[in-house]
């Protein structure tokens, strides 16, 4: 491994009931994905406040992905429907401000979809890596 190889930092917010369990399943099945992906457990994808996402970018994240139960399967019945609307609006706004749309993503991963979790993370990490460092939402103070 090259020391200087660019490694994107990816924050993945995973809902406790589906996606976090999906990530666990990926682990159980030893399905590899980049270590650049760091998971934060939230009760439901609808717990993810846009402020958390911007915070992650501020602090140096290069990509933020939100994973929740498939629509219709929310443990809380409707949480991910709100996530879907909020994030559609927010991501569209970030795009409007010229921030690369590939840096944000919402993916539905069920507790049974360990393979999908790993595949999603591999794909997302690759796409974010292709963009390079997040410059448009960075806070240089955090890089000192």
């Amino acid at each position: 491994m090259q020391v200087n190889e660019y490694k994107p930092l990816i924050v993945a917010f995973c809902c406790n009931w589906c996606s976090y369990a999906g990530a666990d399943l990926a682990g159980n099945n030893r399905l590899a994905y980049p270590a650049d992906v760091k998971i934060i457990r939230v009760p439901c994808s609808c717990r993810v406040n846009p402020m958390f996402i911007l915070r992650a970018f501020q602090r140096g994240a290069d990509g933020v992905i939100i994973c929740g139960c498939h629509p219709g399967d929310c443990h809380y019945t409707s949480g991910n429907y709100y996530t879907r609307r909020r994030m559609a609006a927010l991501f569209s706004m970030l795009d409007f401000l010229g921030i690369e749309r590939e840096r944000t993503r919402v993916e539905w991963v069920s507790a049974a979809e360990g393979a999908k979790f790993a595949a999603t993370m591999n794909d997302f990490a690759q796409k974010v890596a292709a963009l390079g460092e997040n410059k448009r939402l960075e806070d240089l103070r955090c890089k000192k």
Binding site: M1, L9, V11, N16, W17, Y20, A21, A23, D24, L25, A26, G27, N28, R30, L31, A32, Y33, A35, K38, I39, I40, R41, V42, P43, C44, C46, R47, V48, N49, P50, M51, F52, R55, A56, R59, G60, A61, H70, G72, D73, C74, H75, Y76, T77, S78, G79, Y82, R86, A118, C142
Partner: protein, 664 residues
């Protein structure tokens, strides 16, 4: 400032194989708040837990971070450990360095690096944790069972036997469900009625059980231990309390041509009817769509012949409100519609029937009094073809079939084939199958008997097409083992239709806020460890509503669900989940946005008087969260623009601290 202890688990070599646990515990030693950091082979073992307890005592820890397997695995374990050591169980955070680190990364360097970061995030979070105390709520000691098939019956009987009152809500006029329609049961071949009807009688006679037949659940409010349920008792136009079930009304009823649902429309019933002789409750019901009196006020014969005076044409739907502590869903299954399976000519020929119709045809109480006949001409069939997996395991035909295996078909088809050959040795019986699946006690023996003793011709391969021609059914099929095409002139074809959840399940799930899979089967809280509980607290699953199953399996699940209900109702108080939303009144605008997104109706508003900074008072509308109702999803916290709403255990500050720790 917290005094945090960090405990890094090796999990044998599961973690230690890819993560330098020593390096992790060393690195975390320097994190803010950390006063103790160590590692050990198996943190979850008794020795590991003792290590935590001792460290709490020795280092006066106020917070614990365990770097180990997934919190879904052992969070509860370590919380108990913390409680045993005298600190609040919610002062424990788990860094998942097994499933989400050591198991998915191969390189020691990256694995260790990531484990340290995950540990830092957990430390950052625990530094902001506050002790949480679960709220308590009372338990209504009454259970509701929705569905009166064998699953519901067994669950109700078991709960009632433990001394708790149970109500069964059944949408049909009688309980009994699908099992009441069956002839014999595999693999013992005892008759379904002989084993079911005594249980139905038990239900009727049990003082702890009430049956709401011909009824439906229309509204469910509340939460575990405290459900408020509205039950619609549909008007049956017969006073249940007076009707003796003598049947005089049925005999006199002039409307005789109503298709009989119980026999799947293979014969007729009257407009006033008792579904079958052993129905419970054994009372008549008037079908308002067929009764002349109800449709146009002409007739009234039944009222005249009823000695008890039970007929009441003016009866209205009744709504009953009742409180329950637990709800058991036992809504069962139905065979899927065969209408779309044109290739099997189900709609074209009366002699192509489903397995359930076959049950009725062979049942002594059925339309043919148990004599196997062709429905079209009443003749005795000689060549009978059974087709398995019609609509099951149907990956390519999702629009009409199901992707899953219906599980029971292999066995009942073997039963049908065997019984046919046994009773009518002159018949030739073919069974077409993809696989024969017989994993069950005495199941494979049963199937082998069908082949070996009864000479049923099992053919691996699917039927391609069935064409009615004259009084024959031309069956084209392939024999995959012999690798040839088969052409059979059959007299009767029996389709093993896939089964699907009852249509009432989906709206019920919405009412219960219980989750379902894409096939509308109810999801269990955990597929292995909590198979009879729904993820929604207080809602339990019994029978085929959760997935296809046979009678023995259904009965065992029914008993298991009952045990869970009994365990719940035996408690006087329930401890809630303390990770609930909480509103800061001083910041709340009272805008109702949070209430709009709350799926549980946990948020209410009140006008409160506030002392303002300028020493005046002001009355403002503010939100209040009912902690017993809130399930802690957090939807409200993001909807709230002022940030007044926050979630305990997953507070904004905690999640941001995790973000910061991960991103630095």
């Amino acid at each position: 400032m917290q005094r945090v202890g960090v405990f890094v688990c090796w999990c044998g070599s599961n973690i230690a194989g890819t993560v330098d646990v020593q390096a992790v515990s060393e690195a975390l030693k320097n994190e803010p708040g950390v006063v103790f950091s160590t590692n050990y082979q198996y943190m979850c073992s008794q020795a590991g837990q003792d290590m935590i307890k001792n460290a709490v005592k020795e280092h006066r820890l106020t917070g614990i971070v365990v770097c180990s397997c997934s919190p879904r695995m052992h969070e509860a374990t370590f919380r108990k450990t913390a409680a045993a050591a005298g600190i609040n169980p919610y002062m424990v955070e788990i860094a998942n360095i097994r499933e989400q680190c050591s198991w998915v990364h191969k390189d020691m360097l990256t694995g260790t690096e990531k484990a340290i970061i995950l540990g830092k995030a957990a430390v950052a979070k625990v530094n902001l944790n506050t002790p949480l105390i679960p709220g308590e709520s009372p338990v209504t000691k009454r259970a509701l069972v929705i569905g009166g098939g064998i699953a519901g019956i067994q669950t109700a009987l078991d709960i009632a036997d433990a001394g708790f009152p149970v109500d069964i809500v059944e949408k049909q006029p009688t309980i009994g469900g699908k099992m009441a329609q069956l002839d014999k049961t595999f693999p013992t071949l005892d008759c379904a009625a002989c084993i079911l009807t005594p249980k139905m009688v038990d239900v009727a006679q049990n003082e702890n059980i009430r049956i709401f037949s011909y009824s439906e659940v229309t509204e469910v409010k509340g939460f575990v231990g405290n459900f408020d349920v509205t039950i619609k008792k549909k008007a049956r136009f017969v006073n249940e309390d007076i009707c003796t079930g003598c049947g005089a009304c049925v005999e006199k009823c002039p409307m005789k041509k109503v298709p009989n649902e119980f026999n799947l429309g293979m014969d007729n019933r009257h407009a006033i009817y008792i579904p079958f002789a052993q129905a419970v409750p054994k009372v008549a019901t008037i079908d308002p769509n067929a009764c002349n009196m109800l449709k146009n006020g002409k007739c009234g014969l039944c009222a005249r012949v009823c000695a008890a005076g039970a007929i009441d044409y003016k009866q209205k739907d009744q709504f009953i409100e009742e409180k329950y502590g637990a709800i058991v869903v036992a809504t069962g299954f139905n065979p899927i519609s065969m209408e779309k399976f044109d290739e099997y000519a189900y709609s074209q020929s009366k002699d192509v029937i489903t397995s359930l119709e076959f049950e009725r045809l062979t049942n002594a109480a059925g339309p043919s009094a148990g004599k196997l006949i062709r429905p079209s001409d009443g003749k005795h069939p000689h060549t009978i073809v059974f087709v398995q997996c019609v609509g099951s395991r149907c990956e390519s035909c999702a629009e009409k079939g199901k992707e899953y295996c219906s599980k029971i078909c292999c066995m009942y088809t073997a039963k049908h084939a065997m019984l046919t050959r046994d009773k009518y040795p002159d018949t030739e019986v073919y069974v077409f199958y993809i696989d024969v699946r017989t994993p069950g006690k005495n199941f494979d023996e049963f199937y082998r008997r069908a082949v070996e003793e009864y000479g049923v011709k099992y053919v691996k391969g699917m039927v391609g097409k069935i064409v009615p021609e004259g009084d024959k059914l031309k069956v084209q099929a392939s024999d995959l083992i012999a690798n040839r095409q088969l052409h059979i002139d059959a007299d009767l074809v029996v389709l093993a239709a896939a089964i699907e959840p009852d249509k009432s399940a989906r709206p019920l799930a919405t009412m219960l806020t219980a989750s379902m899979d894409t096939n509308d089967f109810f999801t269990e809280a955990h597929p292995k460890l909590r198979p009879v509980e729904s993820p929604t607290a207080g809602v339990f699953l019994s029978g085929a509503c959760q997935g296809p199953k046979d009678i023995p399996e259904t009965v065992s699940q029914a008993g298991a669900a009952a045990a869970k209900v009994i365990g719940l109702l035996a408690k006087d108080k329930l401890m809630g989940n303390p990770c609930v939303a909480q509103s800061d009144e001083l910041m709340c605008n009272g805008c109702s946005t949070c209430a709009n997104v709350c799926p549980y109706g946990a948020i209410s508003y009140e006008d409160k008087e506030f002392r303002m900074p300028d020493r005046t008072t002001k009355i403002r509308r503010v939100a209040a969260v009912n902690p017993a109702v809130c399930q802690g999803c957090g939807a409200c916290t993001v909807a709230c623009p002022s940030g007044a709403m926050d979630l305990k255990g997953f507070a904004n500050s905690q999640i941001m601290a995790e973000v910061d720790a991960i991103c630095k």
